[in-house]
Every structure is written in C-alpha cells, then in structure tokens.
Amino acid sequence: MTKSELIEKMVETHNMTLNLKTSELLVNTVFDSIEEALCSGDKVEIRGFGSFTIRERNGRDARNPKSGEVVPIPPKKAPFFKTGKELKERVNV
C-alpha cells in the first residue's frame, strides 16, 4: 500500500469527515510530525505501533573497491524503528 492508497482508504472509511484534500493533509501531517521530531533529536512513541529513535553511527574508514583508495566515512545519524509489542505479535502469524 502506498501513501496515496492510504489517503484514499482514509476517505473511503471516513467520507463524512474527510475529503481527498483533507485526507492528504492529514496523512502528510502525521509523517511530517514524526520526521520533524526526529530531526530535532526527539524520539517518537506510537502506542501499539512502535517507536522511532535516532541511532548514532560511528565514522569509519571504507575503501573504494575499484581504486583501493581509503575513503573516510564521517559519523552520522540513522533513523531506527522498533516494532511495538501488539504489532509484532499481529505480524507474526
């Protein structure tokens, strides 16, 4: 299911409350909020779904496989999702 299919599904399910435009704004706001929180270093916890956190990756020296040249990779941050208990159990059938 893509984001646009999710937006359409929300309109079908809640046609008294949402039209295509408000549904799009709604779904985008949900994911934008999560992204903004993560960018400001905050973690996001959605009960029954899971939590998003930032993990720090150390810098390392990698090698260009073609030239053999050593390329330093700087430290960076990576988003990490931990599946919530309820969803973990529901997915594992």
Binding site: M1, T2, K3, L6, K9, M10, T13, H14, T17, L18, T22, L25, L26, V27, T29, V30, F31, S33, I34, E35, A37, L38, C39, D42, K43, V44, E45, I46, R47, G48, F49, G50, I54, P74, P75, K76, K77, A78, P79, F80, F81, T83, E86, L87, K88, R90, V91, N92, V93
Partner: protein, 96 residues
C-alpha cells in the same frame, strides 16, 4: 513525541475537533497495522517503507546457559528509511 502531539497538530492544521483528530490518527495507524498484518508492505514516499519479512528457523544459543536452542521461523516487521528521511536527519551535520 507521542500520538497525542500528532493529534494536536492535526487539530490545529486541519480544524477537525480534538475528538475527530484523535479518531483519524488512530485510524491511519489502524489501517497500516491491518495491511502489515496481511503481509502487505506500506510505502510512504519521502519517509520510508515498512516491510514484513519471513525469517527461517535458525539455531541460537542461550547466552546465560550456553544451551543450544532453535529460534523458530517467524514473520518480522522491518522499516527501511527513505534517502530523503536519512538526509533530513543528518542535515545539521551536512550544513556544518
């Protein structure tokens, strides 16, 4: 940040009542959960993909007793963040 903060944002941005906003946010996650439960993936452009993966049986070890045990086959959920999200999170580093 929790679901309540997202609900507040929806309430302010879309003008739905707080109750409606809460129902809508609940519904978004509910649809995502049922879809994943059916083994179907969720692709959110600019954010990332949630994919259900089948894992086979494998042998593991109880680190406390050293006993060998079989970890049973299972389905797990993985999240692969999009390049856009990864860059956004590192933007403060790139800008510096």
């Amino acid at each position: 940040m929790t679901k309540a903060d997202i609900v507040e944002r929806i309430h302010q941005k879309i003008g739905l009542t707080k109750k409606e906003s809460a129902e809508m946010v609940e519904s978004v996650f509910s649809i995502i959960k049922s879809t994943l439960e059916n083994g179907e993936k969720i692709k959110i452009a600019g954010f990332g993909n949630f994919v259900v993966k089948q894992k086979a049986d494998r042998r593991g070890r109880n680190p406390q007793t050293g006993e060998t045990i079989t970890i049973t086959a299972r389905r797990i959920l993985t999240f692969k963040p999009s390049q856009v999200l990864k860059s956004a999170i590192n933007s403060d580093i790139e800008a510096a």
